[in-house]
Amino acid sequence: MANLSTIDSISHYGPIVVLLVMAILFGVGNVILTTVLGPRSQGPVKGMAYESGMNPFSSARRRFHVRFYVVAMTFLLFDVEIVFLYPWAVVFGSLADESALRPLFLGRVLFFLLTSVVAFTYAWRKGVFRYD
């Protein structure tokens, strides 16, 4: 009895294990395949750092403008707010069509988005997105 339930609960994780194995095989397999099959050519241009086709002109280890951090933090904030929409969307989809909770749920998420809009307006007016 105990064994059966243990196996049963572990088998929930089966798909994850399969996904993990596939991911590892895909990654390792591609590396092996390219080393075996791919053409080889060495040279100074080949050894250069690749950054979207631009020629690198200095080291990347330098000080960034503080603006970069502000933009990064703002991005993180709004990014996380988007993540909050996912659980809402899942629950909202499972509600019955004529359920009285639907307008309530919609109203709540709209209120949540409104607070984001306030935050966005504030950041904009504060000059977070200005580059001059």
Partner: protein, 536 residues
Amino acid sequence: MTESVILEKLATLWPEIIMISGACICMVVGLSPKQAVRRSVVWITGLALAVAGLLLVAPHFGWWAGETSGGAAGLATAMFVRLSVILLGLLLWLTSWGVPDLLPATQVAEAAAAQGRPFNPSMVCRGEYFAFFLFSLTGAMLCASANDLVWLFLALELTSLPTYIMVATGRNHMAAQEAGLKYFFLGALSVAIFLYGFSLVYGATGTTVIVSTQLQPVSIAGYVAGLQGEFPPLLATGLLLSLVGLAFKIAAFPMHFYVADVYQGAATPVTALLAFVPKMAGFVSIMLLLSVIGWPLPVPVMWVLWIMAAVTMTVGNVLGLLQNNVKRVLAYSSIAHSGYLLVGIVAGPTTSAGTLGQGLAAVLFYIVVYGLATIGAFSVLGCLRVNGEEAQTYDEISGLSRRYPGLALLMLISILSLIGLPPLAGFVGKVYLFGSAISGSFIGLMVVAAINTAVSAVYYLRIIGACYFGESRIKIELVATRAGRLSAGLAAIAVLVLGFRGGWLVEATREATRSVSVVDVDTQPQVAAPDHLSSE
């Protein structure tokens, strides 16, 4: 929590909703290109506070059929705390009136705008200051109506997070930056500690609901009642960690290290806020958490609080003696007063019906009285400048009575109330508080508190001595803050009135704490331990 419960709860929160909306409006309006509009944030803040206060008392007078249920602490306690936060919040609002306008960056931006150049919103934090002010007050109010550990945690964070920023931005000085950083990091540490405590409490009881009148959902109080006096170590550890973390909010030992530096570094009106709002939130949370195990407290918890109270007041008063800076003195006095307040928490509500027997009522009364006196003292300090900087040391306020007799008198009243001299409200508060210790037979703690009160008189009297008998060597000037003086005046009047005619407030606190009572196993729902624990 089911849908209807959430909706019912939301319907009780209209004052808080008004204040949050007011804060959002301040945030946006403070950046308006029109000067008259962006200056109106002060009025919007006051309006939000006033409307919230009216909504809070409206059901009582029958103007509006509003809320009916409080949190774990009961409707009356929540009502008392919320109302006192709003009323003292109005005083703090007056004290804060000119804070963002006095910042050099604001003045530069406003001067440029006055000459017709476009207004630069990134230099001014007027809207933010008042928005964060409202957020912090709202957090303290939400603590009072909490009935869930998650809710309590969020409310406590809403109280503290805005104050970190207010400390750093309220004053143009390196010390303010330093204070803000210290406050933030130590605050984060304390949050981690009490959150860990909450998680252990949840682990021990299997629920985050604090008190419930029904069997479902189960509550922590119900679980504890079901234990019949036994006390699992996991629950005890959780509660103790929560208490230690909350000690940061109330500025008590062992989390008191930040107090002097932060109070000194912050702008004085912000310091006044720090001295009252987080303390109120912290003490209400402690009362909520301890109400689940009930009074008389189990021996280990009682001794931890006993020692915390004794050490806190001794540390505060002894270190207060060594300071030369009035703001630091008042910071250590804030620590010491937390120690006195913990005496009431240790004593708790006792079964004897006498007026002096109510520890929790005494705590509520004393915290309001302490808030009034400390806001008065800080408001007076906030009005004074020396060479454009805040007046802080004994030397700088020396001879204040000759230059500004009115302000010196307000300072005198506030300080005498902090000492606890009759006929001021501080005296009534101390009698009430120490009386509860006697009727709970905590004579030792009461003796420690009495000795500490005597010690504290030394540094309090030094402040008065400097104001009244010192030579005025340094030129001290007044900043244009009529609101600050009004706030100090109102606080002093309140302290006087409560001293002579404070009976109604004593009655109100007794009424407020009636529902938080001594352990009575019969009245609490019996709930079996959660499955995952009983199977062990």
